[in-house]
Symmetry: D2
Subunit: 339 residues, 4 copies
């Protein structure tokens, strides 16, 4: 078991199970050894057995206290992320943490300081960076063959509304949904956002306005390198998960379309029909979840930097805060205003 | 010749000749009878003979003074548009006028008042409304089958830089280039713009900043019906004319891609190559120019409203002014501020 | 009028008018001067006046006898083609002739001998060679950048059934419809067909079997250069004109898709809809008809070979005969059997 | 373990390992318990341990003799398939068998008779039936919404040459490669092939002619239901795995394109580049392999017919024999001639 990383999984909800299954089956160098969940029960124990997980706990301290565990996957509720990061750092374990680290800057910075002090690795779960399509955009830009990036565009639309009970506690569209796109624009531009202006509206009739939230949004950005950017979002595209990126550079453009359910085209007198985009993130980013877990394990085994750092976890939260302020006050907001 | 409209062409430059050739050959109900150009010469006379034009003048008054001429195509320099509109109105001729009517609101309003008083028809040359692609977007939105429009997106990129001598007197990107897109968003949204925020940057190294101009821009908009909109522009896409529109509605989305030079796909070990978009507006909007001329002639013959009115000529100028002010002052600007 | 070619048009039916309009408006170096049609009447005279045609005849000899006419466009019924070619050759006029030259080999050869003897130019109306898509395939193959062609594929499907009255006298699917594809495979392969095997079936229920004809066909071919080829046809695709070609070469493949009515994509929960292919040859090959007329006029003015020669007119007729024989006798047929 | 099927894997080469990994990780109801391979060694044992396989044998009789094993996956060399099928049938085990069952009709029929007598289930590994694209074509045809199928087209091209040592013993292109396409046309047409005519050529310079084989082929077919079909093949497409199917029906057409590595489009003055098709069958049919294994396990658990029967294994072998005979004798061959 010399070339494997022994892992403790924190949280066995939907996203925890997704990571658990990938670690068990699709990441050869991962040794998924233990899982802790406050609601540990027989169903979860059966799932764990199927995954070949040896230890099931309800107390996460059983994982932090096990010196054979080298890394943790933090897939628990957002409120626990920062504390678990700090405990893992204190106990010398490498950390994969689902986004966001926290919704408060001070807490994020405290967690990052602990990571830095301990010298452990931290990778934040911005999975889209590992998608074959977005990565092709990034790689093309980064290759420099089209020159410098000038304009970054991201379209990101969920297939359908989440329950209003979820929206109520989501932190708003920018913190809950656009945060992925704020990471994406940084990734594609290779530069930091310095200013945002955000427009939002509740147009769907689903009731977002009751929670001070919106279902449709556009955010314009300026980057340190002079480039401009724009993101458009909606909560309910209806036809599937609409996830497209596009970067215009000095000498040309690179853009990606959605993955479709299949390539079929049906032509008749009535019209021509093609397949819909894949339904949601599980379908679209399935391989990307595997790739991000492999990348984390590789970083641990090879002692290299992770591809999505703690700083990468911090910045999108700041941008989301700036977007919220911009929409609220109806003005451009500089990132330097956010503290 | 009962079902034909006798036309006088004002201006025989590039755009004048384009309209002249369409009227001569591709618009069966047009009787292109006379042309006036201050630089009338033998080359232009030979061209006119080829087109079957009977009268060539250097003085536009020869056209305004001919009672057999029922309509004029104003294709002269922008500075003359409003005056020619007023003369045509005074002499009872229907008017097709290239955009923009003028760059001053007062002058536009004076011209529109003259048109209204005379009861003649006026169509402004926003040719993209007649493009098969954008029209398909508009028709889908207007059909209501996707519900109300929520988000209007326009990408508009010229293939390459204009000479700096042109840029110097162009009035800036918003008045010169984005003005077409400001018309397009109104056309697609079926609603008026109420506020804009504009970001711009000179990133190409071509020297736009020397004239206080930019080569890359994004403009966000709010519409009266609650929808949001965004336009992105650049002066030099390099791969051709990038002209795409997209509207997200309550129940779905309609979008169009570029027309390509052909549908060829060449696959080898080196990669897969497809054709570039058509080069520029002459290639892309060739059929749209014919369609707009036919629509004008039909409006005259059938005594119906034109499809691009004087008001449609006024509004994009106001939006361009608001965008300029927004970029200059770094703040959202309401259309109601523009007078 | 030094750089123009004076033309007499023979036949003012659908295809004659199509060529007449292109010659009048879209081919600058053509001087369309006269038209002859056995059914000359007021409607045709009015059309001719609109086209700026000076002379209208019912007797084609008025055109052959006019020494100022340098070239003829033969757009009359198939039965007259060969005789008109011979008369034009005898009177020293260059010849554009719609396909087929004739349905009998002896007659075609007689006509070609007359052309050769007279030294006039002859271009046969295989218009698809001038289509932007198929031409891109041919140009890629001819460039040699993919190596030698190995496999030529043509799909050619009409949008809907012709009247059975037409089918009855059409000469059968291979002579009437596939003849275009037989030309296309020669054009794409740059090599002669040496053998064919044809399968056909009457599957549509429209009644082709009553006339010994089929509505669905596949023809396999061998070429002199060793390549293989295949054509598939149907009389009624229903969704529009399905015209695709594909060539596999030593190092890769080039293929073209259909031209569509527009690039719109409409996405909703119900599915994703794109535009249908353009309806039929008038829509699909509009620009190709102009290009072939220009190419003929250029060949005359520059005294160069035409791009579709008399031999190019002969070979597809032979291949069609071989295909008929193959389908009838249920065996491969060598072109050398056809005399 | 009540709802799981205990499986013995026969053969641990490339395709055996592929199925083993899918059964271990991606097919929840499979209990992969034992593996037998005549070359069993430490590497294979380590692989088996990783897969959670309990028993490793070099003698397949250890699997046939274990009454707890309910089903076998036959992934051994072709020469063993029929005998292993018979042994599995005799010992009452359900059978998944890679294609082909055998290359001799008598042997196949003997094996199928044993299966029938034993009443066990047999599924043959024609994996493409489970591909999302081809399945969409089949499902559309089978739905009847486009009417009856009239013309079935299959393009199937491998990315690059196999070693000549492989070609030498492959049985020829029709038995080795086209056999998948012969299955595909039956699947898409929903009807049996009654006649074939095959053309083939060795054009690549790789030396197929030395073994009486070809690298480029076209096969035309007639079906019992009156439809026509055509397959084109090559051994070396160079740009990836070219796997497209298309069915024309009474009222329209359904077709699929290749899966691409990603959806990126890179546009510059130099041209527009898109991604290549996925490289080969492992990339293209990865999910289809999982789906076929699941389908087999489901058929066992639910006691339903398998989706690819023994008869489905027999027919493509017959068609391949007919194609060989057709190419050899230069004539159409009826399936009824093959015995």
């Amino acid at each position: 078991m010399a070339n494997k990383v022994r892992i403790g999984l924190l949280g066995a909800g939907r996203i925890g199970k997704l990571h658990g299954e990938n670690l068990a089956h699709a990441v050869p160098n991962a040794d998924l050894y233990a899982v802790a969940d406050p609601f540990m029960n027989d169903v979860t124990r059966a799932w764990a057995a199927d995954m070949g997980i040896e230890k099931c706990y309800d107390d996460p301290e059983m994982i932090f206290g096990d010196p054979t565990i080298e890394a943790v996957f933090i897939c628990s509720s957002t409120a626990t992320h920062a504390d678990f990061i700090m405990r893992a750092a204190q106990t010398g374990k490498h950390i994969f943490c689902e986004k966001p680290i926290d919704t408060k800057l001070a807490k994020i910075e405290e967690a990052l300081a602990a990571v830095k002090k301990a010298g452990v690795k931290l990778q934040v779960g911005f999975v889209r960076r590992f998608d074959h399509n977005h990565k092709a955009v990034r790689d093309t830009v980064a290759s420099g063959k089209l020159g410098k990036p000038n304009l970054i565009k991201v379209t990101s639309r969920d297939p359908d509304h989440q329950p209003m009970s979820y929206i109520k506690v989501s932190g708003g569209i920018f913190m809950d949904m656009t945060i992925h796109d704020f990471d994406m624009v940084r990734y594609l531009a290779g530069s930091e956002v310095t200013e945002v202006t955000a427009y939002g509206a509740a147009l769907s009739g689903a009731g977002y306005e009751e929670y001070g939230d919106v279902d449709t949004a556009i955010v314009m950005m300026k980057f340190e390198n002079g480039a401009l950017g724009v993101i458009d979002n909606s909560r309910a595209a209806h036809y599937g998960y609409d996830q497209r990126t596009e970067v215009h550079c000095d000498q040309g453009c690179v853009q990606v379309a959605n993955d479709l359910n299949n390539t079929a085209m049906i032509s008749s007198a009535a019209g021509v029909e093609v397949a819909k985009p894949t339904w949601f993130f599980l379908e679209r980013y399935n391989n990307a979840f595997i790739a991000e877990a492999k990348a984390f394990i590789d970083a641990v085994l090879n002692d290299t930097d992770t591809l999505v750092t703690g700083f990468d976890g911090l910045q999108p939260v700041k941008i989301a805060m700036a977007a919220n302020l911009s929409m609220k006050e109806g003005r451009p907001v500089k990132l330097s205003e956010i503290e």
